[in-house]
Amino acid sequence: MISNLIYRKIFTLLKVQYSNMLEYRVEIALWAISGIIPFFMLNIWTNNNLNETINISDVLLSRYFLCAFFVRQFSVVWVVFSFEEDSLMGRVSPYLIQPLNPFFRYFAQHLAEQITRFPFALIIAFFFFIFNPESIWIPNLGILLLSIVSTFLSFLIQFLIQSIVACLCFWTEKASSIERLLFIPTLFLSGLLAPVVSFPSYVKSWIYLTPFPYLIDFPANLLSGNETNISGGLSMQILWIFLLFPLFKKIWSEGTKKYTAMGS
């Protein structure tokens, strides 16, 4: 009975957000295009034969960057920007009265956006294969499923980190500048612009202790068939989720006590 109710809630939320997102399909297509930076990086790598020094063949490197593009597409999070706007406009107040944590709403929004984005990402991948026909490959089903799981875990980690930052809106009005600050290490250390294997050893010695390489580098290596430690990577992802989730719950309960209902 209760589980049935939860299912209905989830289903309704997703349906509403999906039809909402479909309204903005042009925007989402443009957003998908703005994620093509990994392809420019690939161009620099292969055009200058930089990959020879790190022992990755052209084909594997181009698969890596394609997968990095895909992982990034399905782990983009913007909850802090939505939450900041909603809390400045006073729209959070009615959400707080409802018997549903408002972050479920944002979570459904992100999932619905990913579903809308999927065909556009496929089209971009199709064009990528037209220009690089030698890099076509079909990952086996097990690997494919595992990499979908790890991409989802990467999305969860980023969603939790950003939700924690979003909760800072209860104390300061502009939490999004903190998010922009956090985005910089994510951009350079996650493997979106260069695979983590290519990093100098003074960075490699500590980077695997941070969440960054598990956001893009690990799922992309997994999917593209590059060498990676599957069980180690997955367990680190789960570990980070277990560390971040209680922190989010704590900051949420502290923050809602501080809430001052701006703009209403």
């Binding site: 994620g35 910089i184 350079f188």
Partner: protein, 264 residues
């Protein structure tokens, strides 16, 4: 007479927007850290490229740093003036407040392009200049009058091209209402301005000099710094910049004919 009026108005713009931005002092500090980190990050990425190679696209590491410096200065200018103002156009058009701008006895392009200012961008510009001075020292560039005039001409042309690109996309809001994501696409394309044009493959080089002249924005000024630039390239940049500024102005006046207000 007319010029004096515009100067006076601009002084008022500066005063009001600085007053409102300085309300968020910690925000400025966070933005400064973000700018420093992003510069460190891109130098780190560049150092990965040069790890085992002496040259990338014919550029040495010390020379490629000049491109980073110029990119940082231009990015600072974007964050100080273009970003806060031109994203405001989207809001003006969606909410119909462009009416009030058009009714004022002042040029509408002047008003919407210079109304706001974001002081944290200044720090980024200073950071860029510091790096540029450092580059001038390590590359042993001797400063003389002709070098200074040529470099300031090329950099001002870059600023004009950059402004026109931003303004062009923002103007399309009049038809499409939400072009926020188109700006994101431009941003991600501009990102390749951090690297020498020669490090990309031939087809991308053509694309980035003909369709979106990002090549002109950072590579030509850097070549001037190194004394590598030929006179026809500089002339070409001046021509491209003039064409861009005139076309974007015409496009704005043309687009205004289609403006049909909103909610009034």
């Amino acid at each position: 007479m007319n010029l004096r009026k515009y100067l006076k108005v601009y002084k008022k713009f500066l005063h009001t927007s600085l007053a409102s931005e300085l309300e968020y002092k910690t925000n400025i500090l966070v933005d400064l850290i973000t700018a420093i980190l992003s510069l460190v990050g891109s130098i780190f990425l560049l150092s990965i490229f040069f790890q085992n190679n002496g040259y990338i696209g014919g550029w040495k590491f010390e020379q490629a740093l000049i491109i980073q410096a110029i990119y940082t200065i231009l990015n600072g200018i974007t964050n100080t003036w273009f970003n806060p103002n031109l994203t405001e156009i989207v809001k003006h058009i969606r909410e119909g407040t462009l009416d009030f701008v058009l009714l004022k006895p002042i040029d509408s392009q002047f008003f919407i392009s210079l109304k706001k200012i974001n002081p944290s961008g200044f720090l980024e510009i200073m950071l860029g200049f510091l790096l540029l001075l450092f580059c001038i020292r390590i590359n042993q560039i001797n400063l003389n009058l002709s070098f200074l005039t040529l470099s300031s001409i090329t950099i001002s042309c870059s600023i004009c091209i950059l402004y026109s690109l931003w303004f062009f996309i923002s103007t399309t809001t009049i038809w499409f209402v939400k072009t926020w994501n188109a700006i994101e696409v431009l941003r991600s394309f501009l990102y390749i301005g951090r690297f020498p044009l020669n490090s990309f493959s031939f087809s991308l080089r053509i694309f980035f000099s003909v369709f979106i002249p990002i090549a002109f924005i950072t590579t030509i000024p850097s070549e001037v710094f190194l004394g590598l630039s030929v006179i026809w390239k500089i002339l070409l940049e001046v021509i491209v910049a003039t064409v861009f500024v005139i076309t974007s102005r015409r496009f704005w006046l043309f687009a205004l004919k289609f403006y049909s207000s909103a909610s009034s």
